[in-house]
Symmetry: C2
Subunit: 206 residues, 2 copies
């Protein structure tokens, strides 16, 4: 009890290796989806043997579940920050910018999520029908309030949110396609940000 089981219930090695494994698993799962990925692949990517990996996680499923559960929360953060008290147009534009930043900085997470949804969300449907749904309801109401007050142009708040998601996540999820079409363009994201700023500015102007 003295040497092991520190405050976290884990040793230093456990913390390090678990992080390594999750990092590798993110690489693999985000590219091949759950069923298309193998424990061996993940183990190799993490620099471990398969039995060694299974010493840290009980199963393939457990790794995937841990990744997803950690993801959902941070994924919703940019939307949570949407503040009813702020300036409507600026609030929405900030949300778009934050979301685009996440596509740029965490494309693997975006693809992991996309894979899960496309395949019918077998593992996170509850979270979508719960947390996400509630959050959407809350923020839709705020946006509707802005519209009713004549502070932004009228539109469907829920579809506005869908538009924000699809426009921003596209750059991460379909990165290969984007790059194939603008190969020389190093600065995809700055241009994308400009474009989306233009788009939403025009769209929201009364």
């Amino acid at each position: 009890m003295t040497k092991s089981a520190d405050k976290n219930g884990k040793t230093r090695i456990q913390r390090e290796k678990r992080k390594q494994i999750l990092e590798a698993a993110l690489d693999v799962f985000s590219q091949f989806g759950y069923r298309g990925s193998t424990i061996d692949q993940i183990a190799k990517a993490a620099g471990l043997s398969k039995p060694n990996l299974l010493y840290y996680f009980p199963s393939k499923d457990a790794i995937h579940a841990e990744l997803l559960s950690g993801l959902m929360d941070s994924w919703l953060d940019p939307m949570r920050a949407l503040n009813a008290e702020g300036d409507p147009k600026e609030e929405i534009l900030s949300y778009v910018r934050r979301k685009l930043q996440m596509s740029r900085d965490f494309p693997r997470e975006s693809r992991l999520f996309a894979n899960e949804i496309i395949q019918g969300a077998p593992r996170i449907l509850p979270a979508i029908e719960g947390e996400l749904r509630d959050l959407v309801a809350e923020k839709s109401a705020i946006i509707q309030g802005w519209i009713d007050a004549g502070r932004i142009a009228p539109l469907d708040p829920q579809h506005l949110l869908f538009s924000i998601w699809s426009l921003t996540q596209h750059y991460a999820d379909f990165e290969v396609q984007v790059r194939a079409i603008m190969p020389s363009e190093e600065r995809v994201y700055p241009r994308a940000e400009e474009h989306l700023e233009t788009l939403f500015t025009r769209m929201l102007s009364v």
Copy 2:
């Protein structure tokens, strides 16, 4: 030579069964991705035994390849129809409407494509870097021409095309999420069409 090998080089049964198989494979591949799908799954969905399926197609890969190659072409059709001679705003809006219709009528095809791209487009990268890239270049030039003529508001033509793709395909690829958030809403697509019409109208107005 008399009884078999009609004009198509295939018998009636071959034509029927191959169609059945492709139909079933579309169901399965679009949901689980290539690596996540099994021949047995497809065979069962098509009402055949595995060896019987393999009598009609030489391998799992061949089925997938045939689906994808057939897809690429029809996928680009709506963009091909974009006509430099037409009214700019109406041309773009028609393109959006056609693309949204495809999401509504062929969601499995959309997801098959999305799966392929997310996973790095291992099988259709050439087509993307070829046909698609050329078509984008061509249509971007047309749009740029409209902008230069002051007929639509200025914006980045390539990113405009990305926006059209992402906004419309989202309703097919993330259908589960959309439905989870608007479960009561039977009329997702009519509303989506209205929303996108509003969005692009505002965006393109000088």
